[in-house]
Amino acid sequence: MLFLHGYGCDQNMWRFLVPAFKQDYRIVLYDLAGSGGSDLTAYSRRRHGTLHGHADDLLEICDALGLGGAVVVGHSVSAMISALAAIKRPELFSKLVMIGPSPCYMNDDGYTGGFNRADLEGLLEFLDSNFLGWSRQIAPAIMGVPQRPELAEELTASFCRTDPEIAQHFGKVTFLSDHRADIAELAAPTLILQCSDDIVAPVAVGEWMHRAIPDSELVVMEATGHCPHLSAPEETIRNMKAYLA
């Protein structure tokens, strides 16, 4: 079982889920290129200029580990990354679990992505103008750990430790991506876990995904926000186990 974290985080976000599956599965965790503890020099603006680059990374990892018929759990943008990988090499994956997926963040004729053009332009401007005080501001919080004895030592120094320029680039790639046309080709059985109030991926998007993916199941969870695996791990685990059983 492979876990792929979403934009802005790293593999540590799976810490509440992994224990529930490690009895039954071989667990593979990694940080996306450019995120967390990954080798930042491996991040290429050309290769990772589209989500296909990240999908190719996933395929290379599967090949290197000799995986076949794996379950992929992808959060947010990684739901789309794993879908692209599964379309390219269907034999590698048996089932997909998508948490808060969105094939396209921008509203379009007959499609509700959750954001209009002005919203996304505002976001990109925010990324452009504010990345100094945006991703870097996470750093002092991490640095502050040693002075805060009340925090467990294991609290990861790598979580959200993103290079601001990469965060900015990955943000653009993520929020401007549109893979609606690809999704219908996804043949793998797919579970879509949709939070009931998620501003990044609204319920309408989860419903669109469910209609577009032929062999899919949609669960609208009670959990709110964009990271149910952190805010409501029990509910997330329960739904995944029910689907994978």
Partner: protein, 472 residues
Amino acid sequence: MTGDPSGEPSSSGRAGIDLNDVLDEAPCGFLVCDPGGVILDANRTFRMWSGRPGRELTSGLRFQDLLTLPGRIFYETHCAPLLRMQGFLREISCHISRSDGPPLPVLVNSKLRLGADGRPHLIYTTVFDATERTSYEQELRLAKKHADHLAAIVKWSADAIISIGLDGTVTTWNHGAEQMLGFTEAEAMGRQIQDFVVPHEFRSGFSTLIAKLRNGKDHRHDTNCLRRDRAPLDVSVHYSPLLNGTGTVIGASVIFRDITERVRNEDHIRLLMREVNHRAKNMLSIIQVVAKQTAATLDGDEFVARFTARLHSMAKNMDLLVHNEWTGVAMRELVSGQLDILMEDHCRQIRMSGPDFRLNASAAQAIGMALHELATNACKYGALTGAEGSVAISWDLQPAEGAQRFTMEWCETGGPKAAPPQHKGFGHTVMVRMVQAALEGEVAIDYAPEGLVWKVTAPVKWVAEHPAPRRT
């Protein structure tokens, strides 16, 4: 606060201070939210800041709903996960949207309180007004953008722009310097410029230059510098002192501009000036010869008419030199053009043979000048001084190893006994060195007793106009 979520009665601190009032009127916003962000309570300061003084805030709104859209996405993708895993957030900068005004820039600190069961129970959040800090950051960003812009100009300039300390140590080295001088930034940084870029002969003057810079004066001169491959390069260098904030000279910016082209042009002009002077003198000798020869057979009006016609023809040929921007010239046209004046009197004495093809401009100029020189010499001292001598001009394009070769010969016979000149003047330069340089070829002059022989061999690619000709 409008209520205490723990349901305990309001408390008093030491000295009878009402802590509820402290919280309510504190100079920062204070919020209590459930683990999903739903606001359970907010102090008066925050309610006023958000423009929602009543109960609106606690009617199911989430803290993240109050943020502007980019901040909301940031909160959901970065902050909420971080808070859950790390237990706190510090100095998150975002904007609170207000019902009654533009968004308020704030800094947010949050702490996650766990319940007795170890699960997330409440989120305590303080919010600080960051209006001043944000506008200051905005200025910094603009200044940075401006500085980045200037840095990009320097970085990608075609000129080598570097900076040095007062001992000559390189402190910055731009892309232009890498290209022009051949040393990478890594190779150049930390080395002293006088050790690897400044040529030996100028090294002793370097300390004088530094002294001048220390006095706040700049310095500009044309010189040459050393490339990584040790090849000297003609450059114009401008040293300007670099000052720190208090006006002390701490080093210098050094700008090298490649002036190879300019130096080459200047050399070319100098050479042409000499040639014009030389040719003017030659012309006068030729005119003298032509006048003598014409006067030997004609006189009176007939002499004037013939002599004038010959002067016209000579004038026309002068154009060949000056019109240096030829696009190319046919070989036969060039040879006959240069020999026209002589042909009339010596038509039986001059023979030419060879395939016709087009020469490139610089080859045409060099060969034309050499032919003019050879013809002048032949009239003054060689085979064309009398009626018995003859000149054979021949050229050919021959296949050779790898590339075609051009060969050309000027061969005098039957004139007075030839002998090497007493000294090699400008004429020799024109016949040998200029041709060698222009054609990348070999030139040999043999002053054999039976007559002078001038031979050229050169790669066709330096002689012919492109594309290379086929034999005709």
